[in-house]
């Protein structure tokens, strides 16, 4: 799966959970500062993306200890792409 495809999945999850305009979301968008996502919204987004990716990559999971390091959409995309290889 390409980084662009993962970004699309992530963008979809962010739009669903936070009800923001998908067109405004880019790799540099920050979850907390720009999107005002709280801890529950962040986990919702993570679990939504996991649910999508698990269909093609069984067992895919974002490690809980890594969550705090994913500050932007780009961080999350790079993390997922590296794990999907």
């Amino acid at each position: 799966m390409t980084a662009e495809q993962v970004l699309d999945l992530l963008r979809g999850a962010v739009v669903t959970v936070l009800e923001v305009d998908g067109a405004s979301l880019g790799r540099s968008t920050r979850f907390v500062e720009d999107l005002r996502a709280d801890s529950l919204a962040l986990v919702e987004i993570v679990e939504m993306v996991e649910e999508d990716l698990i269909r093609t990559h069984p067992g895919f999971r974002i490690a809980d200890e890594d969550l705090d390091r994913l500050l932007t959409l780009g961080d999350a995309v790079d993390y997922a792409v590296a794990r999907l290889r």
């Binding site: 005002r36 709280d38 801890s39 529950l40 679990e47 809980d64």
Partner: protein, 295 residues
């Protein structure tokens, strides 16, 4: 009505939970309780009481002192996830827990999903003038003006489902006059004047137990929780609610006090069953969609 009940939630679990479950089915034999927890614990407690209830396994609970979202995230087999999964899968009509509210909310949102942007804990306080819906009573500690507007829309829809026509919405504040309060209240006041609800302005704390100016009282979860507990402690009334609804999640989910005893657990179970029986969710969806079309 089938109610999935968290066996491990609350200060007095599992004994108070199982006794509450048995009280509930005794009081209303049309209610079926599904205990969610470790099967060996449930079997032992049921055998000691000579009782039989359905049991669905779940091995973990989220502790009161644990960060609730992180707890639910790491514990995939947590009871607060499983009770809501049963509702999502149609195996139960409602979920009940007297565990930590934050964890129950996280379990509900992550498993059932949201009905609207921001779920809230809603409590219905009976007053001489009719029911007053107070929200948020504890789901979100730091509210924003936009969230208070979302609560107003949600609470107003809930009041309509409860039979209140054109519910009046008040903003909880330290005085009735416009311009009162902190930045959050002032900003929320301005937004509420433009919101698709019948906003009647500021109301005060005593307007919740006494009723009068508003059918729906909106506030942030921190203030709402403090007010609710003060009302409960200061009042000798026995008709105050012992259960609250997680309003805004896509299913019926009822929470109770962590200190709940068997009688309180039974009240939560019967409340949840009644809400499911009344078709709360489809009716809420209908009211919200009618309002969306009208706005």
């Amino acid at each position: 009505m089938r109610v999935a009940l968290d066996l491990l939630g609350g200060d007095h679990a599992p004994d108070a939970v199982i006794d509450g479950a048995l009280l509930a089915v005794d009081r209303d034999p049309t209610v079926e309780v599904i205990l969610v927890g470790p099967p060996d614990v449930a079997a032992e407690l049921l055998a000691a009481r000579g009782a039989t209830l359905a049991v669905v396994p779940a091995s973990e609970s989220v502790a009161m002192d644990e960060q609730p979202v992180r707890g639910v995230r790491t514990k995939r087999d947590a009871t607060v996830r499983t009770i809501h999964r049963l509702v999502r899968e149609g195996a139960a009509d409602a979920a009940v827990s007297v565990g930590p509210t934050g964890a129950v909310l996280a379990g509900a949102v992550l498993t059932l999903g949201r009905l609207t942007s921001r779920p809230a804990v809603a409590v219905v306080v009976p007053t001489a003038g009719g029911p007053v819906v107070l929200l948020d009573a504890g789901a979100t500690s730091e509210g924003t003006p936009e969230q208070l507007v979302a609560f107003a829309v949600l609470g107003s829809a809930y009041a309509e489902v409860l039979g209140v026509r054109q519910p009046r919405v008040g903003l909880l504040n330290v005085g009735a006059e416009p311009g009162k309060g902190d930045q959050l209240r002032k900003a929320a006041f301005a937004l509420l004047e433009q919101a698709p609800v019948r906003f009647v302005g500021n109301v005060e704390g005593h307007d919740v137990p006494h009723g009068g100016p508003a059918d729906v009282v909106v506030t942030d979860g921190f203030t709402g929780n403090v007010l609710l507990k003060a009302v409960e402690a200061a009042s000798a009334r026995s008709d105050l609610p012992r259960s609250a609804l997680l309003l805004g999640v896509a299913g019926v989910s009822v929470v109770g006090h962590g200190a709940a005893r068997a009688d309180d657990v039974a009240a939560c179970v019967l409340h949840a069953a009644e809400l499911a029986r009344q078709g709360l969710l489809p009716r809420l969806r209908e009211v919200l969609s009618t309002r969306e079309e009208a706005s």
